[in-house]
Each structure stands twice: as C-alpha cells, then as structure tokens.
Symmetry: D2
Subunit: 358 residues, 4 copies
C-alpha cells in the first residue's frame, strides 16, 4: 500500500536514482536469527550486473552491496535491514537533449505529466537501475524460504523460442542469455548481435519456476498468490504481460484438457497432480505443485534508430539514443524475476504463518 514499498508482512522499500550518489532498499519484517552477510546477496547482484557480455549494456557498476543495519554477529535481528549500493559509473555527460525531450517508450513524458519535473539523468527513478535493489532484497527473501528453489531463464528472444525438449537447467548459467537450450543460445548470439548493430532491440519472454512451495500459501480474495505475483512481475521495468501456468494458452484449451487430474500420492501425503496447467495455484492458494509463470519484456526502448517525438515545448523532434544500452533488456530481467518471485513467496509464507500458524 504505497509508492515505493512492496509486500504485506515482509516488506521492502527502495530509493535512489540512476545518477544519484547511491541506491538502497530497506527490508522490513524479516524473521530474526537468519544468517545473513553481504556475501549472501552479492552473487545475485553480480548475476544482474551490467557489462558482462556484449549482449548487455556496457555501463560498468561495481554494484557492491553494503548491509547497514538489521544484522548482528552475522544474523538478522528482526529489525529493518538497510541495503545500499553506491553509484560509481555516472558519466558526466551532457543531458541537455534528454532533459528537454521525451524519449518514446520511456517514462519521460509520464513523469513530467505527473510531477511537473523529473530527474532526467539516466532516467532518474524510472531507470531499470532500481531493479538492483529488488535483486538485493530478493536475496534476503530467499533466506526466509529455504525450502523453495527458484529458477528463471529466458524462453524466447525476438519471437525465437527455446525447444522445451532441449531444456537443460545446467545450460542456463553457461551462456550470456540465461538460456536453457544451447541451440537457441547460439541463434540468439546472432540475432541479438544483429539487433545491436542495427541500432535496434529485441523483446524476450522469461519463465520462472519455484519448486518446493508447500500447499496453502496465498490468500483469497485480494491477496491471491497469483495476483501478487502478477503485480510483482508487471511492475518490473519493460514488462507488458504475465501468465500463470498455461496463461493465455489455457484460454484455448477445453475444460477437460485444462484440468490437472489428481491421483493418490504414493506416500499418502495428499494428492499427486498429473499435470500443472494451473501453474501451482488454485483459488489464489498454492497447491504444492511448482509455481510457474511467464513474463513478457518489450524490446529496449532506448535505440539508435531515430523515432519521432516531441520536446517539452511541444515541438517535433527526432530521438536517437546513443548511450550504453541493453539490446535485449529481458536478459538482465532474469535475476529480477527470480527476486520478485522470492519476495512474494516469502511474504506469503509469513502471512500464512500469521493466520494459520504453520
């Protein structure tokens, strides 16, 4: 219930602009006694860090996180955990053009319309740089749900999808695209590179699977697990669509094909589902199956190809963005999607415990 805070019981608040002195997050409501050091967070930030291949922006940020509060002798104390990253690569460039121009696809005009002014340096608050703090907060959230394993990957770039039959989880970390299909990764090398060279950009679809979520997390009616996940994902920069389980494909199935039949579990521990069209959620509550979702990222809006626009004076201009930008912003969205999944699940894990005691 707020502008820059997310969550209900486990909440985090982020602050900071792309070109300010620092960005930060405050994670509140975290259970006490969890082991937490900066080294638990840094690997997730490193995974998101720009400048690691020619397929992502060449901006270079150390992205070294500091934990400024909320831990004592290596463990969380139950008080707010302040995380902070200094901005180190703020090129002192001339922002006069962007200051006066509305870049198509960006929040420039919308911010001006809302606030009457904006910090235009690098997009200010609307920069995807903010997502670094989601990743950091997500690393804390993971500690709250050690029983859950979260895996995200890119399933499609520019309309070119992976072959599900070729899915290999080990492959994901081996290529610069978080791609579980080695063949697709090779194709994407060519297509992303081509887009970059052409001054264009590509969209992507990211999939995320959380295994180990027990049945019973989530809450009707307006804190449904899928509704909270939808908000979490749709709020990531450049995201335009979210599907739970089969998503839009479910709208094309018959009722009997979409049903997830249940059979007795061999160990007597409740039903064993024979399909997972539902993506592990029914009535807003987890069923014990893997929670699965898909997220659509639009192509990066910052492109070299000129696009028609207007300036603050309402005059016609052409915008061509020459900075250091991701040719496919969805790639670096993978750790962010994982982080938001972790944050929603951890929040619901605590919510469930509040009401139901388990």
């Amino acid at each position: 219930m707020s502008w820059n805070t997310f969550g209900r019981v486990l909440r985090f608040t982020t602050w900071g602009e792309s070109h300010g002195p620092a960005i930060g997050a405050v994670v509140d409501g975290c259970p006490p006694g969890l082991e937490l050091a900066e080294s638990d967070i840094q690997p997730f930030l490193d995974a998101r860090k720009p400048g690691q291949s020619r397929y992502t922006t060449q901006r270079r940020e150390a992205d070294e996180v500091r934990v400024l509060s909320g831990t004592f002798e290596g463990r969380t104390t139950g008080t707010p955990i302040a995380l902070q990253i200094e901005n180190t690569d703020q090129r002192s460039k001339d922002y006069s053009q962007i200051a006066n121009t509305y870049r198509p696809g960006h929040a420039d005009y919308a911010y001006d319309a809302k606030y009457g002014l904006r910090d235009y340096r690098g997009g200010g608050r609307s920069s995807a740089r903010e997502t670094a703090m989601r990743v950091a907060a997500g690393a804390v959230a993971r500690l709250v749900i050690p029983e859950v394993e979260i895996l995200a990957y890119v399933a499609e770039i520019g309309g070119d999808a992976i072959d599900p039959a070729a899915f290999d989880a080990e492959e994901i970390a081996r290529n610069p695209f978080w791609c579980p299909d080695a063949e697709a990764a090779k194709r994407w090398e060519a297509s992303v590179d081509a887009a970059r060279k052409a001054g264009s950009s590509l969209g992507a679809v990211v999939e995320c699977v959380a295994t180990g979520v027990p049945a019973g997390w989530g809450a009707p009616i307006y804190a449904k697990l899928d509704a909270d996940l939808a908000a979490a994902m749709m709020g990531i920069n450049a995201v335009k669509g979210v599907e739970i389980g089969d998503g839009f494909a479910a709208a094309r199935l018959s009722g009997e094909d979409n049903a997830d039949p249940m059979r007795p579990a061999q160990d007597g521990s409740g039903p064993r589902f024979e399909a997972n069209h539902a993506g592990g959620i029914a009535g807003g509550i987890s069923t014990g199956q893997p929670v699965t979702l898909r997220v659509a990222f639009k192509p990066t809006s910052s492109i070299l190809t000129p696009v028609e626009s207007v300036n603050r004076q309402g005059e016609a201009v052409e915008v061509s963005t020459k900075g250091r930008h991701d040719p496919c912003v969805g790639i670096r969205g993978v750790p962010v999607v994982e982080a938001m999944m972790a944050l929603v699940l951890a929040d619901h894990r605590l919510l469930h415990r509040a009401q139901c005691g388990a």
Copy 2:
C-alpha cells in the same frame, strides 16, 4: 494490503459465501457529494447476472443490491458505503460428494490445505459469486472518474478470435457474448453450445479499454498503474494471464516497431501519440492514451466430463460436475473486468490527487 480488501485510498472489502445468507461489500474512501442510488449500481449487476441465456449458468439470482450506509439524501457522505445482496437461489441439494472430494481446477484442495476446513457449499468463498460485489463496488468507483469511459468485450472464445476489422462497439450489447464482431458471435453460438452439450467448457480472452484517463495517474515503483491492474485482473476467478497494451506480442517486436511515436498535438495540449503499443502506460504512469489490457480466462473447471481426482481420505475418485455452470466463464467475466478497471483507476485518481493536488 489485506486478504479481502482491495485498493489504497479508495478501498473495498468483500465478504460472503456462495450459499450463505448474503454477500456484501464495504467501499471506503469514496469522495463525498457524489449522487448515488441503488439504480446506479443495479444495471451493472444485471449485466453480470446469471441465467440470461443458455450460454451462461442457469442459476437464477435476483442480485438486487441494497445500499445500507454511506449515503444521505441521495449523495455519498464520505463514510463507508455498505452494499449487500441476499442469496436467494441456494438449492438445498446434497453436498456430501463435493464435501469429501477435491474438484480439479477448483480451490477445494488448496483451501483444505490452507485452512484445514472449508465451506464446500457451491465453492463457498472461492465461488465466482464473490465477483458480484466487485461489480457493485465498481459501479461506485465509476462515479469517482466520470471523465473515463470503460469498455470491455470478449475478443476470443476457445481460440476463435474476433476480426479487429469487424469491430463494432454497438454490437457488444446485442449478443449474449459481449462480442463486438457479429460474425464471431454467430460462430460462438455454435461452439459454446457444442461445448455445453458435450459436457465440456471453453476459455476466453477479454479485452478492456479505458478512454479519457488523463496523463499522470499511477505511481512508481510498487504502485504502478499496470502492476495494480495486473493484480486486479489476475485476482478475478479463472484468470490466468494479463497483458497491458501489446503484451506478449510486444516481446516479438523490434524496438522501433514497438515505439509509440509522438507528434505535437494540434491544440498544443501535449504530445499526440501515433501508436499505442504501450497500452497507455509508461513507467507505471498513464500517458493520456487509452489504457488497454487483455485478460485470459481458463475454461470453466466445472464440467460434466469426468476427471480423475482424490477425496479427503486420499482415495482415487472421478469427478463429474452436474450442477448449473457456465460453459464459458469468461463471458460473465466482462462486467467484472470493467469493474476492476474502474476500481483501480478511481483509486489512482485519488492517489494522484493526494500527492500532486490535481
């Protein structure tokens, strides 16, 4: 921030089960002085009401809304508005089978796993009957944003989509499918009827457009207008996917094709957009273009065709749902989608005024 409450400043709370004595909603935070009578709400409920064609459930509910508080001499007073509908058609049937059986695709198992018990009569709280109160609350929300016009319709049933070229807004209310394409509506008559007779069901895609939303509503970073809309829509019963603007199709466009070029407005009132791939939202804030979204409804889970399941004792059973059910639940989702759109926009209209004073 709660289980059965939605919204930030304009909030509503719903209560009630499918087969309890009544269902209700409390709308809080509504501006004072708005003209409000039951007749402002009833038409929207009538639009959602079951039993109006053979393409929807034959359950018959009068769905007559009463306003129990919050108005005086025909106007809102600024205090909470209690809305209530008595449940009249609660057939006294034998629920012993459903009481003991988990219906696939329903929330039965998830509720039991969470709460250890459930009101199984007609789905209890998880019944789509709850959405009647969203529609009622949405009618109040509309009064808060008289400048906005909201139109939803069914764009696809069972994979058979409308022809955008044949779009006719006047057609929507003329057929039982809220279909803007007369030809498609005819085809759906056949397909929905066939599904019903076969004891099967079909999914649907609903589109919604809100025109008249000024630039500046919404809020970064965790109250983005699109994120709130995603939560609102994904939380509707049977919804599995949400797209803003081009949604997943945007992930297949190049950056230059996805850009929404701006040109000077002829009246000098800010930019005129030459496309709307973004669906009227940038950086989580409205741009002044129509706000557009698409929602995927899965096929009705209650079908006559038997599906494998288990009972509470963990034994294998077959479930065949014989009750009165919608062969395509997405059809009756149309007024619900409109209501949630109205509620999110009205909430953000007040939020914007809180921070920015306009």
Copy 3:
C-alpha cells in the same frame, strides 16, 4: 491504513450510521477452526447495550448480532466474518434543528467542514453507536487469544476515584457503573443522578488490564504495542487521554522509583518483575507482565444545559440537547475499551507469529 478499517493482520472494517437501516463489521484475517457462534458475541453487546439503567441512555436497541459469513458448521473458516445489527429504535423525530445547528463538542461542524454535508440523524457515522461493532469484532478477537484475560472498569467519575484498596473484581458486574469499589459505586449513584437531573454530564476514567499476555508481542518502531493501543483507545468516541502503566504519574517519579526491578523467577521461566510502572510494555513489546492502561472520557457533549453555538448560516444560536443521552458516556465505554484491547492484542499475536513463528 484506512479510514474505517483497524488492524494490520487481524483487521476489521465497520460501517453504518446511527439511524440507517443497520450497522456492521467485517473481521478479516481471523485464524480458521475457531468455534464461533452468535452466542459468543451477544453477551458483550448486551454489556454495552443502552437502556439498562437510569445512568445510561434510554434509547432501546435489541442489538442482536447476526453472523453473515466466515463460519461453517460452527467454526471460523479463515474467510471474512460479516457481523450485522439492525437498527430498530430509530425514532422518527424532527431533525430540522440539529440539521442546521452545530452541537458543541460534537463532530457536526468538523464533518461539515470536511465533507460539505453530513447525515445528521443521531450523529450519523460519528455516533457512538458505531462502537457496538467494535464490541462485536472484539468478541471475535478474544477467540484468537484465549490465553489472555481482559478486564476493564470505571476508576473515576467526575473526579471521584475508586479506592484501590477497596478493589473487588467481583463487584464490577454488580453495579451499573462497572465499578470495582462498592462504596464508590454508591457515591456515583448520587453524583450521576444529580448530573442527569441538572441537565449536565460527567467524565470518567476507565482502566483496563490484560493478564496472560506473553513476553514478545508488539513490534518496534512504528507498530509498538503501546502506540497501537494508544490509537485504539484515543479513537473511541469521547476519549481525550490515554496512559500506559503509570502514564503521566511516571513523569513525576525519579528514575529509581519508576524502574521495575527484576528477580529470577522461581520456576526459571525468565524474570519476575517486582513492579509494573511500565504497564507491561517495554520498547513497544510486551514483557509478560499485565498490560495496563487508563483512558479518559470527557463528559457527554449532549446536555440539556444550553450552550452557545452557530448554525450552518453562521448565525448565533443556543443548543440544548433534549434527546436520550448518557449522563456519563464513559460508563458504556467499558466494553468498548475491552474490545479494543482484545483487537490490538489479537492482531499483535498474529503479527508476532508471522515474523517469529511462535
């Protein structure tokens, strides 16, 4: 975080005006499986009910509560619990004078200033009738904390205080003042009667003690148990002051006199406190001692004695309230104070479980 909703995890929303058709509450977030029937709530409403002695208002309301949702086969289901009371004694009187006049001490002018209109019948939403729903919701909250016993009583009327040495808990229910000191109760018979006959009114101080609260409930920094209790109590109609433990008297003690020394508990179960100046709360968190507080009720604002005022046209008038009113509104505040104590403690019990798992 809302106008008519109270609580963080266990929340309740109330609605209704003094002279509308009904008043109600929706209790959300209640744990499932608790035995709950209307008979668990009714005794608390009966305790608050007007018209039971000549020391309280002669308005007669049956105040029969109905549970409209959230239970099944006698137990809570974890879904929202709707409570409702019909207003039966709405005398059809002439409200033209009050409609146009601002009664001193009442919310009349403030509501008009805020909303531009108000439901003036019996005070509308600002009537203490709303507190009936707090009492009803509080009865539900008590079920969440069965280990806690809550006792409130009147400690002072019109400046005439009980003798702590004469405290007898059994006496409280034996007199119409909820007075634990039989001698004081006798004196109050005379003083309250005199005030009533004189067309005047008296203030009161209510004390409340909750025993059985374990150490560890509450939360720094802005959800402190004492801060939440302060809000809960100050929000009751006619309340002007709240003290935790020694309250203002603590400001007159030396540090050593105000300290609550600790000694080893004989059973090794943590410290045994040798005093309770703190009222059972330190740093916003319960210490395991009884939680104690005091609440100041101003004298009833509705009095027969004329008071100078103005009308909506800004003209000078005299106001003399002739209706049926409590000569000492603090008396009927006792069950309301108990209810708010229960609601705050139950909420924090669940909050504590969310974060700390116990």
Copy 4:
C-alpha cells in the same frame, strides 16, 4: 501497516542501530516541486543533538544529514527521499555486561523474548537515536504544510510545572530546557543537575501546539486525527501518556464546562470557538482551532543508582548504568514531538486532499 514505517499517504521508514555505521529514513509520497536542501533539515537535527548542555547526554554526534535521493535541482521530485546520518561517536567500549544483562526500564528483555537475540550495543534499534530520523523526516513533512506552525516545549520536569501565566514563546529557545517560563527554567537547572549528580533521573511533560491547521483534516473512524497523533506520540521512546486538549482533566469537568462554545466569526468564515478544551479536534477531524496535546515522558531508565535485575542466565544481578545519558530524556523529546506532529498533519493533509480534493 508495518513495523518501521509510519504514515498512510506520506510515509516514512527508518532503519539503523545506535552503534551501526549509519541510521536513515526514507520519506515516500512527498509532493513534487517543494524546495528541499539539507539545510532545511539540519537545524531541526541540531536542536535535538546531544551534548549541547550538561542537562543532556554527553555523547557527541555531528548528526549531519545527507539527502541521497528524491530531489533534483533543489526540489523534491515526488520520488522517495532517502535521508542518512553516519554514526560517528561509537565508543568502542566493553559491552559484555550489557550483552548479558537486562537493564530495567529498557527494551533489553522484551527484545530477547521476542527475537531470541539483540544488538545490545547502545540499545541497538531500541535506542532513542532512532528519533533523529523522525526529526529529519519531520523537517520534510513541514514543507508539505507551510500554513501550519508547530511549537513544542517542556511544561513540567519532575512534577515541577511551568506557570501558564508566565508563558513566553520567545523564552523557549533561550534555555537548555525548551522552557517557556524563565522562572521554571531556573528551578529546573537546579533539579536536573541534582538528579544527574545523584545518579538519578527525572520525567517530563511536553506540550505541543499546531496553529494554522484548517478545519477538515482527519478521518473517521480508524484514522482519526487524534488517534493517529496518539500513536505517533506514544511510539516515541520513553513516552507513557498522551492527552489531546484537556485530556484527563476533561474527565473531571462537567459537560457545560467542557463545551467549546461557538460564536459567529466576525469575518463570516465559520464559527469562532470561545474555548478549546477539545484541543482542536472533534470526531477525529480538525476544527480549525489550534491542535494541542500533552505527552508524558518517564524518567530516563539509564541511571547510576543500582537497580535489581537478572541476566540472560536468569541469575540475579544489579544494574548501574555508567554511560553518557540524559538526566531527563523528555528535554530532547521536544524536537521529536514537533516532528511527529508535523508528520501526522502532513499525512492527513494529503489524505484529505485525496478524498475531498482540497
């Protein structure tokens, strides 16, 4: 609705421990376009800063605030404002005794009971050092309500009260006690010094008056202006009581003596009140009169005089606190009370605008 966040629309979140590297606050929801520099905040922090006289703790902190986000070219942008202060005077002392001992009157035992561990260095999160960030956030809140003037002062120390007839607002800043009565200030020099030398401490009562608050701020029923103020004040470290207007004294008045008569304003601008027993609030909504309240601070718990206690092993110990402590913690509470008043009023100013548009 959270642990370390305060407010509904204008919200702030604080973090940090007494002896961590820094403390901070994030202020969210602030209107855009307000002029804000560090120099707008620093004077308020300087007023609260320790070590300025021998009547407050000798801990020396520069308390230099940095604004790390949310402003651009000297004005607020509407995005979160991060405020930060480095802790500079963290004496590396031996904390082994306090680590193992529960100091009476402190949160030591309560934190351990809740969390199972605590940062014992200087009280960690429960240290009054946290209030520095309230003061910083309050300075931002003041910018939101430029029409309001807030004045707090000490009205009583150790039971020795000021003479209202001797009230001189100009005197407040002239003595180290924020005392508006020069004679009282002189007496307090002696009494506070005596307490300090005796290893004891004194309590205090702080009064606060906000003038310029228009009629109409606040909200029934659970966001009443007085209830929010009560929570804000009771949540300040060492506060045990809050009174609005006449507070407990009102409970000793007759109805006619407690009434605030109204007469026509000479300029026709609504009623002119002839008294202010109500403290400027009726029905939870401001009346246009000055908002007045009183806050009771207990004597500092950290005293040299030994007090009986137990250690973590449950053994009997004596605690004598030798550190640098305020002999009367209420004195330094004055800027904190002002800050919380500003924060509550600013929040309600925006809330009122959200619902009522003004």
